[in-house]
């Protein structure tokens, strides 16, 4: 220890000039406001802006200078014998030299920022959040110091192997940068950060150990030091970089079976495919979004843009044969499609379409055949031919979209609300088709409070709500064909389950509470009452899909408040619409899809999917009941 301290003192003694130079460079920001030219920025802001640039450049230069001088210079000038002719071990020599150089580097970096910091400390934000950044900077400086030393040794030795060293450096950097880029592009920010931290830590340890071993084995001989350094450095760094690349590949190639829980599941309206997403097991906060087919576990991972903020990142065509999603690329958002008949096989080939937007679309929807796409971008609706790459129609529309229903492959009906800042909100239903914004279904209705607009599955009817209650609108004529009294379904906008909802067959249901009992009323497509069902005691009811023409799934919520894990106690039941018979299927299990206005109500097999409170994706088997298909195993 005494030897190391002596070495540190000796090394620092010769480097005062560097510290003075750093301090002088740190004073440069004070000169900038004195420069001639227009000064639109306040001097303090100008100083702060230049401070970090000067600190970054200055500390990098300092690291390179000190690193290059760490041991290669004395080796090249044959002066290392001075230390090796004295009772100094190679380890102590290396440690002493490194500690001294690092202390000078840290002191120099501090002196670079100190003058401005002392004067402008009130203006410069130095909060708690800076701690990891400061730690990262100091670790980065150490890495830069060690790397500069290694490069200086490799270069100064003038070995014939220098080209190979250069190749190894280039390979290590290329692998690391490429892996980081791929991880960031895949949304794996935490994995990229973790990988870089580990890679940096390993690089620091490898450089430290390789230098120490090189000095111990090569001692005063530069070429022997170079040989020992290069062998150990590349033996440690190349496998680590390869390990990082493998880690990146592993992180970015999860399967649906790796989903730790299911956040959302979105079955295609028809066909076996569905979209599932959720957090991935052991992948450091990364979430995955998949197109998945439960029958044979075929899947395709989608790198959908903003999958957690966008409630519906993947859309299906009505025939269930095409899926589309958005990927962000350099600030723009591009639509990708996948032919689901080939998905999950070797022939699968996602297609980057010509549909690309500078702003994130609020919504996209595929036509029934999957040939055309409707997108709501900024204040515009665009109808595009994905195969031909042509825009079929475009219309300005700044409304809040509540539903999109395709009337045919090249005609889409938009359900929207506008004027939320005004006393009167307008519900608008209109068609977008080749030509101009169509007036064929151009309906405008004024809503005065609690405005709600819902589209029927085929888009021919809409449910409207305002202060006067709920009414059913015929889109073709714009006439209100039915209203719902409080007897049939008291409006209660705060509890969505009490709102009327469309069933897949175009019919309607509403719920109400009478004498502590929950009742469900069923109406035909024109609002005529068909039947009233007594559901028993329940706080509220959520409607699911119809597994067949006469079976409706319902979720009955029993409790007023959630438990410690945020779960409301509920029962999932099937209701036979013909007989009124109710059968309990499970507890604390909900319906996986979302955006009931956006998504057409599901029926058949697509309606059999549910998500348990634990995040399991369950399939309602007609004979076996609920079967877990994805998510955490049964406890």
């Amino acid at each position: 220890m005494k030897t190391v301290a002596a070495l540190v003192r000796k090394e620092i003694a010769g480097r005062w000039a560097l510290l003075l130079a750093a301090f002088a460079l740190g004073c440069v920001p004070f000169l900038l406001p004195l420069l001639p030219g227009p000064q639109s920025t306040a001097p303090a802001e100008l100083r702060e802006a230049s401070l970090w640039t000067i600190a970054a450049i200055g500390s990098a230069l300092l690291a390179m200078l000190l690193g290059a001088d760490l041991m290669s210079r004395e080796l090249a000038e044959r002066r290392m014998g001075f230390y090796f002719s004295r009772p100094i071990s190679a380890g102590a020599l290396w440690t002493g030299k490194l500690v001294a150089a690092y202390l000078v580097l840290v002191a120099g970096t501090t002196l670079l920022i100190l003058p401005v910091l002392l004067v402008d400390w009130r203006h410069i934000a130095l909060g708690e959040e800076l701690r990891p950044i400061v730690a990262g900077v100091f670790a980065g400086l150490l890495l830069a110091l060690l790397a500069a030393s290694a490069i200086a040794v490799l270069v100064r030795a003038r070995s014939a192997w220098l080209a190979l060293d250069g190749l190894a450096i280039a390979l290590t950097i290329a692998i690391s940068v490429n892996t980081t880029r791929r991880l960031l592009a895949g949304g794996a920010l935490e994995s990229a950060t973790l990988g870089l931290v580990v890679l940096g830590a390993v690089a620091i340890c490898a450089l430290f150990a390789a230098h120490r071993a090189a000095l111990d084995l090569g001692r005063t001989d530069l070429r022997a030091v170079r040989r020992a350094l290069a062998l150990r450095l590349w033996a440690l760094l190349l496998p680590t970089a390869a390990g990082f690349a493998a880690f990146g590949l592993w992180v970015l190639s999860p399967s649906p079976q790796d989903l730790a829980a299911i956040w959302n599941a979105h079955p295609a309206p028809s066909g076996p495919w569905m979209e599932v997403d959720g957090p991935l097991r052991g992948r450091f906060g990364l979430a995955g979004s998949f197109l998945w087919q439960s029958e044979n576990d075929r899947y395709f991972r989608v790198h959908a843009a903003g999958q957690q903020s966008n409630p519906n990142p993947i859309v299906f065509s009505g025939n269930g044969k095409v899926a589309a999603w958005l990927e962000s690329e350099g600030g723009s958002f591009t639509v990708w499609t996948l032919d689901l008949t080939t998905a999950g096989t070797a022939e699968q080939a996602p297609v980057k379409t010509t549909a690309s937007y500078s702003a994130r679309p609020r919504a996209i929807a595929l036509s029934p055949s999957g040939r055309n796409l409707a997108a709501n971008v900024a204040d515009r609706w665009i109808l595009e031919d994905l195969g031909g790459g042509r825009i079929l129609a475009s219309a300005t529309a700044s409304e809040f979209v509540t539903g999109v229903r395709w009337q045919s492959d090249d005609r889409v009906r938009i359900f929207s609300l506008s004027g939320f800042d005004d006393p009167v909100v307008t519900a608008a239903i209109w068609d977008l088709a080749p030509g101009v914004r169509s007036a064929a279904a151009d309906v405008h209705v004024e809503l005065h409070s609690h405005p709600v607009l819902k589209a029927s599955p085929d888009g021919t009817h809409a449910l409207l709500h305002d202060a006067s209650g709920w009414s059913l609108l015929d889109v073709a004529t714009g006439a209100r064909v039915a209203t719902f009294s409080s007897r049939n379904g008291a409006p209660d906008p705060g509890i969505p389950s009490r709102q009327p909802a469309f069933l897949p067959d175009g019919g309607l249901i509403t719920s109400r509470e009478e004498n502590g009992q929950r009742h469900l009323a069923r109406f035909d497509a024109n609002g005529g009452l068909l039947r009233d069902y007594d559901l028993g005691a329940a706080r509220s009811v959520w409607a699911g899909g119809m597994t067949n023409a006469h079976t409706l799934l319902l979720s009955l919520v029993d409790s007023r408040s959630s438990d410690a894990e945020g779960v409301f106690s509920s029962r999932l039941v099937s209701l036979d619409l013909d007989s009124g018979e109710m059968r309990q299927l499970g507890r604390n299990t909900g319906f996986p899809w979302y955006g009931e206005s956006w998504t057409e109500a599901l029926q058949g097999d697509a309606a059999r999917w549910c998500i348990s409170a634990r995040g399991q994706l369950l399939y309602l088997d007609p004979t076996a009941g609920f079967v877990r298909r994805l998510g955490p195993p049964d406890s």
Binding site: K2, T3, A5, A6, R9, K10, A13, G14, E74, R78, R79, M80, G81, F82, F84, S85, R86, P87, I88, S89, A92, L217, R219, T220, D221, A224
Partner: protein
């Protein structure tokens, strides 16, 4: 009154300060040292001689653990010079061929640095030596003259009163005054403390005054390793009033003559195994005279251009 009788302790024999066995070293495919063996006994001064490129510095670098031997071993004060280098060097002083101290530090800083490395450091003695050499304390080492650098390094090498001193031609390139100062200091050190010294040098005149034993390296092989006095005893120049003929070599055969050299004033024969009893009758019969040779003359005979 109880008395205790102490049994005489059986102490292990102290290891020789320097012990080199079968040491070989190569630069790539070129063998620089070939199975060199030598021992420097405690308290002796060993002069390691050889022409430029003979392998002296390579041998010393191996001995100091600066570079690993290809085979064989070297021990310093009983310790392996490669694996126990740092421990051994705590008791050894070294002066290199090329002054290698950090050029930006002055002698005061160098002295202070070395003081932290050795427990038995004597700052006063070092500063006294530097003053005696006339080396300024506050001048950067890089700005000192070649002679001052060597003197400064010698002062530092002696600062911890080493048991062993290893000098790799420290007087190379020095003027006569500086050379003399170095040797005077060494003589003083030897006289006071009896330090063991390994001295590689080209300065035959200087080293002849202090060496006990001589080793001569040529082409990586140590082909002379004997006490200086014996070496001087067995080498003689034989001159005769009459012209010496090659046939006379046969007469002098028992003395192992090296050959007949023709000089401006006549001819001479150098014998390498001089024996007074053998030579006396020959000298009388052939009118020959034997003259003692200096170490430099012996060295030239052994490794000079004419050496066989």
């Amino acid at each position: 009154m109880n008395t205790t009788t102490l049994a005489p302790a059986i102490l292990p024999a102290s290891p020789a300060p320097i012990e080199i066995r079968e040491l070989s070293f190569s630069y790539g495919v070129k063998e620089v040292l070939h199975r060199v063996s030598l021992v420097v006994e405690a308290g002796s001064v060993y002069a390691l001689l050889g022409r430029n490129g003979a392998g002296k510095s390579s041998l010393i670098r191996c001995l100091l653990g600066h570079q690993p031997a290809a085979s064989g071993r070297a021990r310093l004060l009983g310790m392996d010079s490669w694996s126990e280098r740092a421990r051994a060097l705590a008791r050894i002083g070294v002066v290199p061929e090329e002054p290698d101290a950090p050029p930006h530090l002055d002698c005061a800083a160098l002295e202070a640095f070395c003081a932290d490395l050795y427990p038995s450091w004597d700052s006063t003695a070092v500063r006294r030596r530097l003053a005696r050499f006339g080396v300024p304390l506050t001048t950067a080492f890089g700005e000192l003259s070649k002679g001052q650098k060597s003197q400064a390094l010698l002062a530092l090498a002696l600062g911890h009163s080493p048991e062993l001193l290893i000098l790799d031609d420290p007087t190379l390139g020095l003027d006569a005054v500086a050379r003399r100062a170095v040797f005077d200091e060494l003589i003083g050190e030897l006289g006071e403390r009896g330090t063991t010294v390994l001295f590689a040098s080209h300065d035959m005149e200087g080293i002849e005054r202090i060496a006990d034993r001589v080793g001569i390296l040529a082409a990586g092989r140590l082909f002379v390793d004997e006490p200086l006095e014996e070496l001087r005893q067995r080498f003689r120049r034989i001159n005769g009033s009459a012209t010496l003929e090659p046939s006379d070599l046969e007469v002098l055969a028992p003395l192992l003559p090296q050959g007949v050299r023709t000089l401006a004033w006549g001819r001479e024969i150098v014998v390498t195994q001089f024996d007074d009893r053998e030579f006396a009758p020959l000298a009388a019969r052939l009118d020959l005279a034997a003259r003692a040779m200096s170490l430099e003359e012996i060295f030239v005979v052994l490794v000079g251009e004419d050496a066989a």
